[in-house]
Symmetry: C2
Subunit: 687 residues, 2 copies
């Protein structure tokens, strides 16, 4: 390659790539793929230029070249050849496309690399800050041609495969476990010494390892799981490791809740029942195994096609997943057994449903109360790169709270309990079809309307009954209970202390006596054999405790940071639909902020897990970042208790944002199995 | 440290270490251990200078210093202190010894480091070439003091342990498996943040891994196994990983012989019985597991104290141990699945009786027919460092043959069958107490006398019956059958073709008819209820086939090397007593050579395994060496068949070395469970 010169070198042609703009001069006859590699142009190839994989498709820019003031030759690329013809006849090829490994440069030419031929395809994550995940997965497919054995120059088949990977893919010093060694010789012979391998290379210069091998060119895909392992819920994304596409998202309740609803009750369970941690470890691993199979079935793949899983979780779940007694996490100084990231074999975690060679990556923990889930939120939301002061709240059974900007980031964890996830709520359920996820209550008539997961219709829209006939109306999920309580307050059904008024006080039969307190009848399906869905006084108290803990944590970080307000707030939750910023503020979950500065980020921890799954460099990034995040310990801070007590009331008696006729929740990556959670609007104006 | 100067620096003392001779000037008050470290003197310390481990004992050379022409100060070291006093009162300390971590340099002094305080203790291996194994094991014990957790600077306990190992032992980036992580927190707290770890660091810059942890200073030892996994026999040494001492040596028959006596019949078994390799793998792993327990019991330790095992084996056993189908090894081009060395977890090989975190190292193979056992022989006998042309023959079911010098080394494997190991011999048995291991036959009377394993007496010595009463006389082992056949030839009982003469021809009732041929009655114990031990015509034929194969392999290498004679011969055998060089030459097992140039090396492959167990640098060395060894393939070489046919006769009809009244077999490392095999002599002269 020579640099561009005004006079054309005799036998060199000028090649310009779009969209990268990279350019150089090359001898006539050089294949386009070779040119791309030498220029560092992002042009994919799995088969290494053998006309098999078709990943290197390019579009020669005939006719457009004149824009650059250079005459375009009609024969700027070599003629369409038999390899391309065979590929097109067998698999199809868009008109005008060429295979970069076959087409040779025969004159000055502009070559466009379409997005699907780029290795680092950019997957746009639609959120408040349109951000991009560049694909750079730890596990990928590579096609290689291996030298045949020679009796007189004896080396093992594996050693010759390793040399082929080094020479053809610049992957040095590969390893493989014994299970792969067992399958190596038949695969090489069946593929006539051509094979495709699934190669895993973790971060920290980890030894590359061959996880799987197929004879010849493997047409299939390999998949990964991004798992947010929460105290109450386990949420997973199944991703294609080639392009990051989410094939399915699913979740289930953490079966450990039978040992204790919150983390400290699980730690207590171990203290009271020696060996209880072993039981909990087994339980959660079985659940993850089942979830892996279920999500694979949903996506129409086999769970054996899952080669990698990334976990984010709080410290107690982290230890229980790993099989480490969490008892030290229950008492000061809350020492983690290990805080660093972990790279493991899936079989070490008994995840037998995944591929037998599957790998696991677990994000680092920040501290004994601030786990890998908080690290994942930091990876997803990047407070350390924010110009303005951002408060990020990830709502779960423990809330992970981050506050900061590019100068400094603080983190804490606040024990909100499982109410925000629909647990400990009388009609609560996890976010699944049939769960009420949005609620409005008319401040005049006190009548509610709602939406359930699985339908975009409101309960007073025509066709709602038909649309929800399959799922029924089964309960109320986390985002639903937040909205219900906030709406009840704004409709005058609650006093500032959270007490539900009697029918005489509220003027509606829906606040009906239940023992010594009142409940609000959100929906009565008993006529159709369905449940009666109430918001009880106990539900209000549970939400008050949860939101006070959340608020107190945020305030504690603000005290530590020395700020009295934040520039923006990001609300995230592991499960269910997105939390409504307005209702969160009505409840007093978060400090007041301009509504357009409060965004909902879906499952930020899960998104962080997905980023780490799709991009191995992101693992290095978050491992470095966690060392810069300063942890604030809520458990021993007297001011936390003070803030907690002060935050009990529900501050806003009226809609604090009546001027907004439409509140847009931006579309985000959703962990909701129903696939809902896209853009939605409020259609009624109230004041 | 400053260099020695003619005029003494004001506050510096001259310190000279023996036996290394290293010297330097140091400030008064510097601890001897610090001085030793700065000078690179080999002075051990496990506790890192805390007066706990007593490994750093030294002897100050008062009074001897005048030899160096320097005045000795009576107070050249600081005074005996309370730490030393406590140690001496609790554990004892040889008079005159000091602890190097406590004694400080106070004046010019000569300090002797006794052998037991040297890290790289030199274990003399007594053989023809007195060679030394420097201890540098992959697994060692380290004592560390770990920082306590701090809530405000949160890091995991493991991460603080890793920092302690880095700072106190210069071991960076340690890892640990989940089982260790589980035990970490209790051990740290029980030891009050002081622990001893068993740290494994393999070759090739492998990540150091913590295999075990104990609270406080661990007084115990850790052990390793060196295993020679042969087709017919499995031999193991149990070694202390601190000093290389062999605590016990043991062995058993390879239970795979029920699937086929030799390697090719086992490969055939797999071809005929799909899944047969799985069965054979399970069988051999169970046997190794059992052997590990037995040898540990014999040595009075628990097999869980075994943290490492090194394996050497031929290629078929290599694959069957690893669980790889060996079928490719049965046909040209004899491709190994993998030829490189392997570092594995013992649990990957189902070696469940060892420590749960134990590691396994398997030496590299040279080629499809020349395995890790040949590599081990090369490591032990080092033909590549020999000035003269040496032939090394390792006798087993396959003989590994090496020929060469520092210029070039050739290797081949020859299918001798199991006869040399006592298998396929009518009265054959493995080398164990009761087995006949040495035989002499009087050429005049044709009467035999013999020795059995477990006694140093000959059968015609007084007290022999009493000495062998416990074991009995049960059969004949490999070295015994070699001597018996050679002695029969020299006594005129065999013709050159190997036919046993009739009583009429030989003049002794001991050559007695058995069917259509004759047998020689070596011992008749039937009167006492014991066996009748015969050498049958079939036994002679089996030995002839075996020795012809061995000889043909050696000749093939000599052809390839272009030499007609060799300067010296080393005879090695995996099992039983040492092969008698004279009898080997009488039989025609090896080319003729001066008898004083033929030495017996015991189990050279096993010694190679032990070297690799005790010295991690030796692993790098043999991995490099195998690439320089040129393999000759016997299976496809027509000249091998030619040599084989020509070698059938038994060449020497009379003792070729009658002038020697005493043949000394040099004492070597013995794999014989009886502990015999030391120097022994021939007491009769015959001519």
């Amino acid at each position: 390659m020579s640099s561009e010169a005004p006079d054309h070198a005799a036998e060199n042609a000028l090649v310009i790539f779009t969209p990268s703009g990279k350019r150089g001069r090359f001898p006539l006859g050089t294949p386009v793929l070779t040119v791309a590699r030498q220029l560092g142009v992002d042009l994919d190839s799995v088969c290494g230029g053998r006309g098999i994989c078709s990943k290197c498709q390019i579009t020669p820019g005939y006719g457009e070249f004149s824009k650059h003031g250079v005459t375009v030759q009609a024969d700027a690329l070599s003629e369409w050849n038999s390899v391309e013809e065979r590929y097109k006849s067998k698999r199809g090829l868009i008109d005008g496309r060429r295979l970069g490994c076959q087409a040779k440069v025969m004159g000055d030419v502009v070559i466009d690399v379409p997005p699907e031929s780029q290795v680092h395809k950019q997957v746009i994550r639609k959120s408040a800050t349109e951000r991009v995940i560049a694909m750079d997965p730890a596990t990928r497919l590579l096609y290689v041609e291996v030298a045949e054995p020679d009796m007189h120059e004896p080396t093992g088949d594996f050693e010759r495969l390793a040399i082929a990977l080094r020479d053809q893919w610049q992957v040095a010093d590969v390893s493989a476990d014994l299970a792969l060694m067992r399958r190596l010789q038949p695969a090489l012979r069946k593929g006539d010494w051509k094979v495709t391998v699934a190669l895993h290379q973790g971060n920290h210069d980890a030894t590359p390892r061959i996880l799987d091998i197929w004879p010849g060119f493997y047409e299939g895909s390999i998949y990964g799981l991004a798992i947010d392992l929460g105290s109450t819920t386990i949420a997973a994304h199944l991703c294609d490791l080639k392009d990051g596409r989410v094939l399915a998202s699913s979740g289930l309740m953490n079966p450990q809740i039978r040992f204790g609803e919150d983390l400290m009750s699980r730690v207590s369970y171990v203290m009271m029942n020696p060996g209880g941690d072993v039981e909990m470890t087994r339980t959660v691993r079985e659940a993850i195994n089942g979830l892996a199979s279920a999500i694979a079935t949903e996506a129409g793949i086999h769970p054996r096609q899952i080669y990698e899983a990334v976990f984010v979780c709080n410290p107690v779940m982290h230890h229980l997943l790993l099989g480490i007694d969490p008892v030290e996490l229950g008492q000061a100084p809350f020492a983690l057994a290990t805080s660093g990231s972990l790279s493991l074999d899936a079989r070490e975690l008994d995840l037998a449903n995944l591929n037998a060679s599957a790998r696991v990556y677990i994000l680092p923990c920040i501290a004994g109360h601030v786990g890998a889930d908080a690290a994942a939120v930091a990876l997803s939301e990047q407070p350390n790169k924010s110009d303005d002061m951002v408060l990020i709240v990830d709502v779960g059974t423990n809330a992970e709270i981050l506050l900061g900007n590019k100068t400094r980031v603080l983190a804490c964890s606040s024990p909100t309990g499982p109410a925000f996830e629909g647990a400990q709520i009388s009609s609560g359920q996890r976010a699944a079809p049939g769960a009420i996820e949005r609620v409005e209550i008319d401040p005049v008539t006190k009548e509610p309307r709602f939406r359930v997961i699985g339908s975009d219709l409101w309960s007073d829209d025509p066709g709602f009954a038909e649309a929800t006939a399959t799922s029924g109306i089964t309960g109320i999920c986390g985002s639903g209970i937040i909205e219900a309580v906030a709406e009840m307050r704004m409709a005058g059904l609650l006093d500032p202390g959270g007490l539900i008024g009697s029918p005489e006080q509220t003027g509606t039969w829906r606040t009906t006596p239940e023992g010594r307190t009142h409940s609000y009848v959100l929906h009565d399906g008993t006529a159709d054999g369905g449940p009666r869905i109430l918001v009880t006084q106990g539900d209000i108290r549970a939400i008050q405790l949860a939101k006070s803990a959340l608020y107190a944590g945020a305030r504690l970080l603000m005290d530590e940071m020395g700020v009295d307000k934040v520039d923006r707030v990001t609300l995230a939750g592991a499960f269910g639909a997105h939390i409504s910023p307005k209702h969160a503020m009505v409840l007093g979950m978060i400090p007041d902020a301009p509504l357009n500065k409060v965004t909902s980020a879906g499952n930020a921890a899960g998104t962080g897990a997905r980023i780490a799954l799709c991009n191995v460099a992101a693992r290095n990034q978050i491992e470095a970042t966690v060392h810069e995040i300063h942890k604030v310990e809520t458990a021993i801070e007297p001011k936390f208790q003070e803030h907690f007590v002060n935050a009990n009331a529900i501050p806003h008696a009226v809609d604090p944002f009546p001027e907004l006729s439409l509140i847009v929740t931006l579309p985000v990556v959703s962990f909701n199995t129903s696939g809902s959670g896209g853009a939605d609007g409020r259609r009624r104006r109230r004041g």
